[in-house]
Symmetry: C2
Subunit: 355 residues, 2 copies
């Protein structure tokens, strides 16, 4: 039995403007540390899975950056979607490609742009999950033990009584809650953060797609016979165009009765905003994170990124400053979620070079 990984790397990361743009999305940036996020994701999973079994699903725009950052990944493992159709189609596409290579494979599915701090604990969690998925034909998701009433994450509720070697039956998936609801989730003790990471046997997920998303399954069946066809990109484009844009959570996980959760006790973040980057970064004695030559006077608890240009900050606290190439962002830390609105503004005003 072979192990495969699917790394989903199609997102733009609008909240990381102006560092993340179409050609330099979040996963291709060094957000925290010396490696880009996708390099870290590959390095981490490579502790368990050989490099030739790691697939990356992305798009034409990001392909050159991925090849440059990950020259060790075989070129045929970089799968190009003609356009985004959400995670159900993305995972379906990767699944038939893996099935063609290795019908019995166990597959780990994960986003390219998360931060995980304890590799060993992470890999142990994957082992537990894969063992359980093999023995029970189960769809296993990784739930993160929550440490605060975070409103930026989705939650998964488990049946505590179903516990079996740290794997639990899933009761419900919950969308991003408001603060009061999040507090209640934490108090209850049976809600976990939805990490968007999945482990399953390739036939388990394809069977569930067949049952719960028959239109998608039909498209995948047609595609499977054409994988080696030189005209595959055009065929894929035609079939993708007819698929609905549905997440794997909504299309499969919330509806299937084969869904289980394995508890992840490692430190995890989806790094959803510059505020999260500030939280994850090492601070100086003033609580500041400085990248570049930065002068501060009466300035505390701020993230100041200006690698190419001398920057002086005077008399201001809790700032995000991103001075990057042709754009400058200055944002109060607690407004970091609103950075995505800049993208709408740039589109509206056709400032395409800045996108």
């Amino acid at each position: 039995m072979e192990f495969y990984a699917v790394i989903m790397a199609g997102g733009i990361g609008a909240r990381f403007w102006p560092r993340s743009k179409k050609k330099s999305p979040k996963q291709l940036l060094k957000i925290v540390g010396d490696n880009t996020m996708i390099q870290e994701t590959v390095r981490r999973i490579n502790g368990l899975i050989p490099i030739e079994n790691i697939l990356i699903v992305t798009n034409e725009t990001q392909k050159p950056g991925i090849i440059e950052q990950l020259p060790e990944i075989p070129i045929e493992n970089i799968i190009i979607e003609p356009f985004g159709r959400n995670t159900a189609a993305c995972i379906g596409l990767a699944s038939i490609i893996i099935q063609k290579r290795s019908p019995d494979a166990v597959t780990f599915v994960m986003p390219a742009d998360h931060i995980i701090k304890d590799d060993e604990s992470f890999l142990n969690t994957l082992k537990t999950a894969s063992q359980f998925s093999i023995e029970n034909q189960a769809l296993v998701t990784i739930g993160i033990q929550p440490t605060r009433p975070e409103t930026g994450y989705g939650y998964i509720q488990i049946d505590e009584d179903s516990g079996k070697s740290s794997v639990y039956k899933v009761l419900t998936f919950a969308e991003k809650p408001n603060y009061a609801t999040a507090v209640n989730f934490i108090k209850s003790g049976d809600f976990f953060w939805n990490s968007g990471m999945f482990i399953w046997k390739i036939d388990s997920i394809l069977n569930e797609i067949n049952q719960l998303m028959p239109d998608l399954f039909e498209g995948l069946v047609q595609l499977k016979d054409q994988i080696t066809n030189p005209d595959f990109p055009n065929i894929l484009s035609g079939i993708y165009g007819q698929l609905k844009s549905i997440s794997i959570d909504y299309g499969i996980m919330e509806k299937s009765d084969k869904v289980f959760l394995v508890k992840g006790n490692f430190s995890w973040s989806d790094v959803g905003s510059w505020e999260a980057v500030y939280e994850l970064s090492e601070k100086d004695e003033d609580g500041n994170v400085k990248v570049g030559t930065v002068y501060t006077d009466m300035a505390l608890d701020s993230y100041i990124y200006s690698p190419d240009k001398f920057t002086a900050v005077i008399g201001l606290d809790n700032l995000i400053v991103i001075n990057h190439n042709d754009a400058l962002l200055i944002c109060k830390r607690d407004k970091a979620q609103d950075v995505k609105n800049v993208i709408d503004y740039l589109k509206l005003h056709k400032l395409n070079d800045l996108l």
Copy 2:
């Protein structure tokens, strides 16, 4: 009788970093409006004084910028100081040059970097002052009717009973006061802002220099005979090197009994900081001043200058943002005076390109 003007243009304007640097000091910038400050100063005074009688005292570094911005000024009217020796020496030097050309001249002395909004009122004030200076051999200074207890200006106290066609005898010069003192100054009604602008007959000021600053006068006498000497710059350098660095206020105005004040009722500012620029600029409905393509969201009452780079400001009020060439300043408006400390930092760290 001829009228002359001396425009003092030697300052750097450290509070306007990063727009003002050694080669681009405050007076050579378009701080408010379409002209640079020195262009505005020349244009304004040119309503009263022919261009060939306007002298500019500056230094070698700023000379090319001044020639470029003011091609109409005869080159022999641009006087180069070898180094700064404060306003007494600067005014003395200009005075002997004017005396050589026109011994009876009435001279207007003013800084190059102030903003005055009502030209007609300003010129009328100058006419009143010059008339009085001719009739009374007086040193006349322009005092601005204060509109607030400003702590950034020096003050001049007049003898209200000495009033004669809006010209008053000066009692005392006061340094920049603290806030409580400034409030008392305003309440008393006999204190005016010291604008640093003077009007006098050329022999009146030179006589007072002779009386009150004999060392300076002696230097000036030596210089006067050498003005046409091709080696004048070297001779000037030698004599300047021995002069004390003293302001005209301290050296002459505070000590002379020939000092009078004419009330200026026009809108005036010495534009001492970015905060003053914000105050003087036209605001949009959010109280913002924007130069360049600037996106704001939940951002009020800020001055945002970024002509070359798209800038987004989110969730922050009362900011000064100056994004200029190779440096970025982000400053709380009420800390605008502290921008000069950046200059010390840059000198200490030998970041000379940024100075």
